[in-house]
Symmetry: none
Subunit: 209 residues, 4 copies
DNA sequence: CCGTAATCGAGACGGTACGTCCCGTCTTTCC
DNA sequence: GGAAAGACGGGACGTACCGTCTCGATTACGG
């Protein structure tokens, strides 16, 4: 989010309009969905949000930062369902992620942001903090549930566990994104089944049964 | 590639300069490495290649197509080594891919192209044909070698085999790209080992040993 | 001047700060001298005078009016010396005016104000009342002195006299301004001598001698 | 004028559109007359001339230079009539100049240009070369005619003559401008008669008769 | 000595024009 | 007819000020 913590000092001068913030983020998402990344100009967003361009620039230094904030909230809809088996949970989350990637605003924004982040460390950090890392909770929750069920062994070392979470997250996120956005193929339940089989190893019966 | 088939008619007027093509592609790669995707403009490339803008546009309709051609050849350096075990082969290819993604021209171009491909089916097809799909040979070769060694069961159904190749390819490519370009973390030999363990299942000893 | 008449009603609420008025006018003159007319912005003056923009606008409706008030006082330094001959008096006043026009704040402001006045009758009136007309006293005084000395014939008709004062004033002011500000040439004593010769006619000996 | 001398080298690339130049200058004069100096924006002129803003900036670096060129030609209409007496000639030229200053485009532009020239030596030079100095021909012609008639003594020293021309020019131009643009009073035939009397000395009969 | 009222600073607001950068096309001349 | 050169119309950029507004915090005076 762009908003900092509630200011310690009671803030001098006219306070920033909260309504403007919301209108801008809404306008950004709508424009992304309608016109795509290329059609998203600061001027257009400002006009659509009925806000001056200066107001926009006062809050976000560029299109990139703005889109990070506008898109981040879309990822909050992902939830770990806890369906009783690790396989089912993985397939469910993959499905949710695929649905999210099918939305035009996500589609228009995600890879473009990643691409920009490639050459701007600050932006990459911001993307990670606002969009990517928060989703690692899904992996953590899924792992915890599987451990509770006895499907996975409990953590021994927290550092190793963190690395494992990272690698699993990169694998699920990266693979689904590559499938949908690069290969341009849909994520079917069948594909999700195969993919979770890959993750769970060639003989999942040995593990979960 | 942009080059058309050798013309049937012996071509009227002055023939196109071959030197220009090479100079343009070189200039494109150099500019990508130095200034990144954002700094790559058609005018700049033309100037750098000592070529008129018209010459450039006569060959490539836009920056995107140009970069596809300029970058595609970089991916030819990836080879499947056949080191005697599937694990070793995977780790080797992951390492090669990581090195490729560490080069500034690849880094600047790859995600940007993917992002553009998101909104342009034609471009996506071209990217797949020129850059992505050719690398599936690596998976095919690795699989074949592993099957020859008895590490993997032989193919039963060619359709199933193709789908398996696809999913493995998306997984390796997507995960490594996400790790390097989105998470911004390096690919260490240790990480490659963990990743191949993930791919080979929790008890690889049962399979390969 | 911007200051209104002493209020009839003893004024409710907090009285306006007198210090602010002076600080603003000083800041205006300083900024004019340093940055010129184009560099003079309301925001800048406010900042420099350590005053809020609202405070500034509460007193002066625009840059133009502000500068009129800021610059008017500079013209008070012009005096008619009464040196014993009309020629000497003219040359002295021309010299004073030239010195005034050499000051950067006058230089930056005067023509700019005149230019603005061209499109704003109200402003033109204000400029005349505050800056231009008060200087006609110089012509009047010089004429009176010359008449007392017998260099000039006494007034016959007051209307004719007024017109004569106007035309002499326009001639002296306009010519010196044109020489300094448009032609960009300095006013030397030699030039002043020539100019007063022109005013006094080709054979001044016949008049003053 | 903005146009340089006809290029020695035959000029590479597409030549600049002459039509664009004319359209821009016309649009500038029209806009000046309609909206005044303040309403004259580069964007507006470009739109009105049906030309891209870049085309405009390619030729003139700023509004000031553009207006110099646009306005300069208006001054070409001033001519020295040679009416048989110096007085008549002066009154005629003063009248012409007054008419020129009454035109809205001149009125809007002239003092504004002079004001800008105050802080930009380059611009001042350009104004002098394009607008001011060319009119000195009027003084020269008038003087020559008067000398031919015997109204004025022939030149003795060319340097002195040049200085005399300068001072007379500054006087006529400056006075008329001050009368019209600063004092805001009209130039009547009566005023022109008085002014030429002033120039010709208190006893013109001694000179011209 | 309390409330009303106009002031003060600060700074956000909607808006306009700026001058720059690239785009992709067109119009030259030369080869 | 290709190539170099460079002008063309067009669109977005990010910045600078504009003049207005909304804040909380200060003064004054009149009751």
């Amino acid at each position: 989010m762009s908003a900092a913590q509630p200011p310690v000092t009671p803030a001098k001068g006219r306070p920033r309009s909260v309504a403007a913030d919301l209108a801008i983020l809404d306008a950004t998402r709508e424009t992304l969905a309608e016109l795509g990344w290329g059609g998203l100009t600061m001027g257009h967003v400002a006009t659509r949000a009925k806000v001056a361009k200066t107001t926009l620039y006062r809050r976000w230094p560029s299109k990139n930062e703005l889109v990070v904030d506008a898109v981040a909230s879309l990822f909050d809809e992902l939830v770990m369902p806890d369906l009783g088996s690790l396989r089912a949970d993985i397939e469910a989350v993959v499905g949710q992620f695929a649905d999210l990637l099918a939305r035009p605003e996500t589609q228009a924004a995600l890879l473009a942001l990643f691409a920009e982040g490639t050459r701007d460390r600050q932006l990459r950090r911001r993307i990670r903090e606002a969009i990517v890392d928060p989703q690692k909770r899904l992996v953590r929750q899924g792992r915890a549930a599987a451990q509770a069920r006895g499907e996975l062994a409990p953590d021994t070392d927290p550092v190793t566990a963190a690395e494992e979470i990272d690698i699993i997250f990169d694998t699920i996120a990266g693979t689904v994104e590559h499938r949908v956005l690069v290969s341009g193929e849909p994520i079917t339940p069948e594909w999700a089944r195969r993919f979770s089989s890959l993750l769970l190893g060639p003989f999942p019966s040995l593990v979960s049964g």
